[in-house]
Amino acid sequence: MSTEPATATMPVGLSGAGPVLRRRRGRIKGSSIAVFVFLCMCAAFVAIPLYVVIVTSFKPIEEVTLGRIFALPVHWTLTPWYKAWNTLCTGLSCDGIKVGFFNSLAILFPSLVLSIALASVTGYALALWNVRWAGTFLFVLFICAFVPFQIIMIPLIVLVANLGIYGTVWGIALVHAILAMPLLTLIFRNFYKDIPQELINAAIMDSGSFWQIFREIVLPMSANIMIVVLILMITTVWNDYLVGLTFGGISAAPMTVILANAVVTSRGEVIHNVNMAAALLTAIPPLVVYFALGRFFVQGITAGAIKG
């Protein structure tokens, strides 16, 4: 009951310990509450901008000009969304952001296919097959992963123009594949390195060829890393601006470029609710992927960061 220690049986070490903290079973400690509150405040900081955008996108113009950004719409309306999709003006034309949506889709699939096909085979070859210069090549790839886009941008424009695919979806896809190759290869290689060499050796003894083993043994084992890489690439490609801007020209501009043109560089009246709806439309696909497959997303991001 008493917190005064009986001196006769007092262990030596406790004599200078100061006041004894008694905690009641099940009581939540004060520090836990402080932690929770702080976390909630930070979560609010992170969530509120999105909330503001969502809420504004459903407001009619009159409510937007009132300027009460945190208030819910009095009259919920889908007009801004309709306008954003169909009639958003980018200074050159007013065809809505749907153009960008379909362009982005058209860019996405070849980008994914090219980059993942190239990186997975390369990673497989470097991880499980005896290539003498593998170590050097990996180091070079490591360096390439850090190279800023601007240093290779102009030559790539020259290259893509000479290949005749400048201003097309394929041009963008090629550039994405090139830019993503170093990082993705490293990711695949690290993943494949965990496959026991004996498994591959046994398959070779069973007269499996390089491609056979890849198709029938390694690929089926790659489900986990494929998901991670897919999520990483989908996010990177969909959210990309610079590559789409530089290589897309007018006809293959992705959603982010159209959005930026509409909001940033166009003159004339700024219609905020439409702009916000357009921004949301651009943001929704990767967000859906994130909320649906968040676990793999985290893996993908940290895999991208802890390269090698």
Partner: protein, 291 residues
Amino acid sequence: MAPQIALTPALVVTLVGFAWAIGWTIYMSFTRSRRFPDYTIDPADWYSQYERLFGNDAWTTSLRNLIVLALGSALAIVFGFILAAMVEREKFGEGVFRTIFLYPLAVSLIVTGLVWRWMFNPSLGIEAFLRGLGWTSAQFNWLAAPDTAMYGIIIASIWHGMGFYMALMLAGLKSINTEIWSAARLDGVSLWKLYTEIIIPMMKFTFLTCAILLSLGVVKAYDIVVAMTNGGPGTSTWTPAYFAINAYSTRSNIGFASAAAVIMLLITLAIFLPLALVTAWHHRQREAAGR
């Protein structure tokens, strides 16, 4: 033979897409190419583009902004660590908090920039809200003034990246042996002492990784500048990446843009080399300790 053949596309990409491309750009930076590549180099004047570069006010502003952005965005690492430490201790709702903190990563930097541009808008953003509450002299129009515009970009960067660094720190924290926490609880040391003397030193490598990734991200900062301020007011929010793109697309000057790009590459190398050295040293240390 098959593996070597299968590696050819990657080799080609590396040789052409990277090695040749970098070499070409470096070469161009010594020429006077404008709209189209001009392959002649004047040996007496090979550094003319660099001279112009460092005499250019917008370029010096860009470099300064680079440092400002790097230092300001470093707060994202600090917050990332604090959040990770709290999320790790917080038994209630860890998953929910993680999901919330990480979602900005799924949002494009363009959208991020636009969202914060609206938040800073005086008539419909935070300033309007504060004034609506009765604080009539509230000033939150940071993007309108050259002195404060960069800070707006910093806030948006922190908003976007905080969750990422939190995720990295969380992974680092979870790799710490749970018995260390138990031992510290029995030792009765204060939380502050525990984190500053034990936990943070143990996470040196994670912090370093975060710092390097942050720096590399800052060097590449383009999208967010376009979306928030498009470089303005004036040239006060230009970054080196923005400068290089502008030199090419607006001023149609290949040589000038190439010089800017080469400096960007040098900065990247300067950031990257310590990482490479530290990683190699770290690996050798671990092998020596026989772990």
